[in-house]
């Protein structure tokens, strides 16, 4: 349905998006995963015609949308990264204003407002000003506004940033429901790999403007087939212990948390006993040493040497 062809965006100082090619098929939930500053919002802005790319093309139904984006705009709903609402207005007034922008009016508009309020679970809060809403409710209305004109494609830019887990689950369920019940195609952008892992059929991973991986979850995780991930948890960590692991030639990558270390080593290497000995020597008590099933986080770590969230 939609295709990005070697899309590129250069700002004055930053090459924010570099030759990114992606496609989205009808009915899919596609994830765009990447840490902050990866270029996700920039890529989305170009896709949705808000920003002109420095190079490349955006194609919808095999037509370039760069010159005349109207057909694409008509079928896309955009959930911006910010709460793009009038906080002094009520939920209903917001929906009415944006609905009018889409040239809805009269009973059609009223019906649509009721429907959207139902979908985002704000029916009984419709007369309240957005200022009074919790972060989660604002995010829900932010999504609702994008659905007024029955878009075929919903583009969501980090729709769950800064909200409580409950609201987050509500939003994830809503996305799933929209996809299964209304066959809505979704491009879901996030830096939370669990969300993308939970929701998406196919995933693109973006880092520093580059697509570093793409495919179904299985395909992406198979990148790790030659490596394994070991999670070490201890009562505390010492520099000596960490440095010893870092300098071990068989260790490919390491990421250090507060009380745990993730280590990536080639599949055939066995460093269990070495680790336990090392801990003893350093006077640490290991609470667990596990081989993890790989996550997207691990894939990202494998590909970039960094954690998805810093």
């Amino acid at each position: 349905m939609i295709e990005l062809v070697e899309l590129t965006k250069k700002f004055k100082q930053i090459h924010a998006v570099k030759n990114v090619s992606m496609f989205i098929e009808k009915g899919e939930i596609v994830g765009l995963l990447g840490p902050n500053g990866a270029g996700k919002s920039t890529a989305i802005s170009m896709l949705s015609s808000l920003m002109e790319p420095t190079g490349g093309d955006v194609r919808y139904l095999n037509k370039s949308m760069l010159k005349n984006p109207a057909p694409l705009r008509k079928v896309t709903g955009m959930v911006p990264q910010e709460i793009a609402l009038y906080t002094e207005l009520t939920a209903e007034e917001n929906l009415r204003f944006f609905g009018r922008l889409y040239r809805l009016r009269g009973t059609e508009l009223n019906k649509k407002i009721d429907e959207v309020l139902e979908q985002i679970g704000l029916t009984d809060r419709r007369k309240e000003v957005v200022n009074k809403f919790s972060g989660g409710m604002k995010r829900r209305l932010n999504i609702g506004v994008a659905m007024l004109h029955d878009p075929e494609l919903l583009i969501m830019d980090e729709p769950t940033v800064g909200i409580d887990p409950q609201s987050r689950n509500y939003i994830l369920e809503t996305v799933k429901r929209l996809n299964s019940e209304k066959q809505m195609t979704v491009l879901y952008t996030s830096h939370y790999m669990e969300e993308v892992e939970y929701l998406c059929d196919r995933i693109y991973i973006l880092d520093k403007g580059n697509l570093i991986a793409s495919g179904t979850q299985e395909q992406i995780k198979s990148i790790l087939s030659t490596e394994k991930t070991i999670l070490v948890q201890a009562n505390r960590l010492t520099d000596e212990f960490v440095n010893a692991i870092k300098t071990n030639p068989t260790v490919n990558r390491i990421i250090v948390g507060e009380m745990e270390i993730t280590i990536i080593v080639p599949k055939e290497v066995n460093i269990f006993s070495w680790l336990i000995k090392l801990a003893e020597e350093s006077g640490l008590e290991l609470s667990s040493v596990n081989i993890k099933t790989p996550t997207l986080e691990d894939v990202f770590l494998h590909l970039t040497g960094r954690a998805l969230r810093d």
């Binding site: 802005s45 949705s48 015609s49 808000l50 920003m51 002109e52 109207a70 705009r73 008509k74 896309t76 955009m78 911006p80 990264q81 910010e82 709460i83 793009a84 609402l85 009038y86 002094e88 207005l89 007034e93 204003f97 944006f98 009018r100 922008l101 889409y102 040239r103 000003v129 506004v145 994008a146 004109h149």
Partner: protein
Amino acid sequence: MTWNIIKKQGLQLLRNPQQLLLLIGLPIILITILGTALSSWMNGENPDIRAKVAFVEHSNEKEQVEQFIDGLKETMPSGELESISGNVENLMVIDTLKNDIFGNEEIQEFVELDITNPSMLNQLKEDNTFTAIIEVPENFTYNMLEKIILDKNVEPSLSVLYNDTHQIGGSIVESIVTQFQEQFTLSVFVNKNELDQSVLQMDEDGIIGEVTTINQKNSITSKDYYSIGMAVMNVLFIAATIGSMALYEKKNLVFDRVILAGVSRWVYFIGVFLSGALFGFMQLMIIYLFAWIAFGVTWPNLLAFLVVTVFFSIAVGGVTVLLTALSYRINSEMITNFFSSIIVTIMAFLGGSFYPIGDSLVVIRTMGNFTPNGAGMSAYLSILRGDGLSEISEHILFLLIFAITTIIVAAFSFPKRGAVK
């Protein structure tokens, strides 16, 4: 579509009590404070206000009086003649005006009389520091004595040219001239000069003659003055308010939504312009309504008042859309902040919102009339003084040109498609 945007803007303003208080409450408070505190100053009771009056005589008065007495010798009985010629000084009416009236201590406190000769006349008319120019035509005294004593049918008249931009001084001078006229027409002159009342056929209208008033028909009170001053200043804040709301729409990506909905950015642009103009108009009307109810500021020419308000509001719309476009371009609050903290103050100062500064400084008045608030203020003051549309057409034209210019500059600075981010 545009209406949708304006309506939303109105709702936003209404839901912002602090903003509303600032836009409506503040000017009302200021009018009350300034209008009350400075009322005595405005009414000319304060000696700090000085009006400069130029006095031009086209011929020597003493010679005229002597010439008149010479002429009487042939016809008048000698007794009567003596009583007249013994009082030569008292026949010099212009002298009375110059020395007794303008020379009065109280009056001298705020009127400075500048006696000049006729060759300076053109230069005086150019010089805006004069509040009024009193011109005594040739043979004025001679003709008047003929009229008073010989009952001849002549109409000597004093011409007084008022500077239309001196709001306060003008009314002072006018009251002095009127006082002079009354002093003449009533028997004061007669008694003072011990002339036979029967000789003097006082003609109430004829003596001082016509006073050529340019724009000094009604006087302006301090409440009038500050109602206008605060209204034209504070309406500029609505431009800044709507401008910063528009920038916020860009920053929180609402503007993206507007564009994605397929609404042309020019529709949005027009929406911002019309919001500025419409809400500016409403703000002005509310302030003037208050001024009317609380202070009795009434408009003698309602049509002219409405025309000025409409054009001034359009200029405010222009400012709004210009501030918005520039803010979008540099993507920062800086423009509206700078405008509402510094530019508004300067423009209000030049335009005379705080103090009729243009009365004494020509350069500033000229500059003031090239600000929208200053032009609006001058036009409003003219209307209060009794002028109609034709007298204020210059200001209206300026407001229109100003609005068009700001809209054009705004349109060119408004970021092009895809460059908004």
